[in-house]
C-alpha cells in the first residue's frame, strides 16, 4: 500500500476506514485475493465431487458431508486471513513502502485496524465461495442454514484469532519470510491435535488439549452441531477458547500495532 494513495482522505472519513479501503483494493483489484479464492474454490470442488460421487465416501451422511466442507472452509479461510495479516507490516517493510505509509496522517493504531479488517475479507470471501457447495451437499436435510450460521460464527472467531496472530507476527518479524513461515508453523501446530489417535484424545488431558486450542475447539463445536445435530447451546463450553482467542488476540494485535509498527523489524529499539 503506497503512502500517496492515502494522501487525501476526506476529513470526515476515519483513518482506519481509508486504510481498509486501500488494502481491499490492493488485495482484490490487485488480483491476489481473487487468485487465492480461485485456488480455494478448486479445492472445494474436488472435495464436493469426491464426496458426491465416490462410492467409499458416499455412505457419509449428508450432515457429515456438509460438516466436512464447512470445516475445510473454516480451516482454509482462516489460513488465508492469517497469511494476509502476516504480510501486513513485514511485507510493507520488505517492499520499502512502510516508511511512506508511516508519514501519512493515519495513526499506527488505525493502520493496524485497517490491515486486520482487510485480511479478514479473505475469510468472508472463502465463506461466500463455500455457500453453493454447502447448499448442494446439504439440500433436502434442512442443514444449510445451520451450517452457514455455524460457519459465520465459528469461522469468524477463528479467522479473527488467526489474522490477529498473523498481524502480531508481522509486527515483530525481521523479514516477511519469517513472518509467513512462523504463521504457518503455528497454524500447523494448532491443527496437530486433530491428528491424534482417538485414544489419545480421551481423558481429561486430551479433552483439555482440544478445548484450550481455539482451532480444535471451534471445529469440534461445528461438528457437534452439524454432524451430531446438537443444539447450539448444548456444547457452548467448546466456544470459550475461540471467543477468548479472538477477543484477546485482536485486542493485543491492535494495541501492539499502535506501538510497534516501526521501520526496523525484529525487536530492535
Amino acid at each position: 500500500m503506497a503512502a500517496s494513495e492515502h494522501a487525501a482522505p476526506s476529513p470526515a472519513t476515519p483513518g482506519w476506514l481509508v486504510v481498509v479501503g486501500q488494502e481491499l483494493r490492493d488485495l482484490w483489484v490487485g488480483g491476489r485475493g481473487l487468485l487465492l479464492t480461485l485456488a480455494f474454490s478448486v479445492l472445494l470442488s474436488l472435495i464436493a465431487y469426491l464426496v458426491a460421487t465416490n462410492t467409499d465416501l458416499n455412505f457419509l451422511e449428508q450432515r457429515e458431508a456438509v460438516g466436512l466442507v464447512l470445516q475445510v472452509t473454516i480451516a482454509v479461510g482462516s489460513l488465508l486471513a492469517l497469511l494476509a495479516a502476516a504480510d501486513a507490516v513485514s511485507g510493507e517493510r520488505e517492499r520499502g513502502t512502510l516508511e511512506n505509509l508511516l508519514l501519512t496522517p493515519v495513526s499506527r493504531l488505525e493502520l493496524g485496524v485497517g490491515k486486520l479488517l482487510a485480511a479478514l475479507s479473505l475469510w468472508f470471501a472463502a465463506l461466500a465461495v463455500a455457500v453453493p457447495y454447502v447448499w448442494y451437499l446439504g439440500r433436502g436435510v434442512d442443514v444449510v442454514d445451520e451450517a452457514l450460521a455455524a460457519g459465520i460464527v465459528v469461522g469468524t472467531l477463528l479467522a479473527v484469532f488467526l489474522a490477529s496472530l498473523g498481524l502480531i507476527l508481522s509486527l515483530f518479524a525481521a523479514s516477511n519470510r519469517i513472518s509467513l513461515a512462523l504463521g504457518l508453523f503455528i497454524l500447523l501446530a494448532l491443527y496437530a491435535p486433530t491428528q491424534l489417535p482417538t485414544s489419545a484424545r480421551r481423558g481429561w488431558a486430551g479433552d483439555l488439549l482440544l478445548r484450550i486450542n481455539p482451532l480444535t475447539a471451534g471445529e469440534h463445536y461445528v461438528g457437534r452441531i452439524l454432524v451430531d445435530a446438537h443444539s447450539w447451546s448444548e456444547d457452548l463450553s467448546w466456544l470459550v477458547s475461540p471467543v477468548l482467542g479472538a477477543v484477546l488476540f485482536a485486542a493485543a494485535a491492535i494495541a501492539l500495532s499502535g506501538r510497534f509498527i516501526r521501520l526496523p523489524g525484529g525487536f530492535a529499539r
Binding site: 487468485l35 474454490s41 470442488s45 465431487y49 455412505f59 457419509l60
Partner: protein, 171 residues
C-alpha cells in the same frame, strides 16, 4: 428383540493350564438380540450380559467385541466399527452378572456377524463367546451426485473469469 441364551459355558477346571493359577471362572455370555438391520453409516447398540455361573467371584475378565463378514469378498476392519472394543470387567460375584453395552457404527454393507468374547486376563483357558448378532447392513446413497459437475466446474470458472476480467481492466 428376543433374548438369546448363551451356548458357551466354561468348564473351568478343564481349561486351567495346570498352573497354580486360580480357576478360570465359569461364565456365560448373552446378548439382548441376535439380529439387527441398519443402513450404512448408522449406529446401533446392543447389550451383552456376562453371567458368573460359578460359586466364587469371577475377577480379571476381559470382554472383547469382534465383527466379521459372513460372506467372502468383503474386508472388515473391526476398529472402524467400534472405537471401544475391549472392556476390562469389574469382579462379578458368584451367581451375579454384569452388562456391557456396545455401540457400533455400520461401516460396510452386507451380512455381518458381531460377537462378544470373554477371556480371563491371565491368558489361561479358552475365550467364551456369546451368540452371533447378525447385522444386515443396507447400502445407502445419501447424496445425489447429479449436478455436481456443473457446480464443481462452474464456481472456479466464474472466479477465474472474474480474475481475468479484473486483470484486463487494470491494464
Amino acid at each position: 428383540m428376543r433374548r438369546a441364551a448363551v451356548s458357551a459355558v466354561v468348564a473351568v477346571a478343564l481349561l486351567g493350564a495346570g498352573s497354580a493359577q486360580a480357576a478360570v471362572p465359569d461364565v456365560s455370555v448373552e446378548v439382548d438380540r441376535t439380529h439387527v438391520s441398519a443402513e450404512l453409516g448408522q449406529d446401533f447398540s446392543f447389550r451383552s450380559t456376562i453371567r458368573n455361573r460359578g460359586s466364587s467371584p469371577a475377577a480379571g475378565l476381559v470382554a472383547h467385541l469382534n465383527v466379521l463378514s459372513l460372506r467372502p469378498g468383503l474386508y472388515v476392519d473391526p476398529e472402524d466399527w467400534s472405537e471401544d472394543r475391549t472392556r476390562y470387567l469389574a469382579p462379578i460375584p458368584a451367581g451375579g452378572s454384569t452388562a456391557v453395552t456396545w455401540t457400533v457404527t455400520a461401516v460396510n454393507s452386507g451380512a455381518l456377524g458381531v460377537y462378544v468374547a470373554v477371556l480371563p486376563s491371565s491368558g489361561a483357558g479358552r475365550p467364551i463367546t456369546g451368540p452371533t448378532l447378525r447385522a444386515d447392513i443396507a447400502e445407502r446413497k445419501t447424496i445425489d451426485a447429479g449436478g455436481i459437475v456443473p457446480l464443481a466446474l462452474g464456481v472456479p470458472a466464474l472466479l477465474g473469469a472474474l480474475a481475468v476480467g479484473v486483470r484486463l481492466r487494470r491494464r
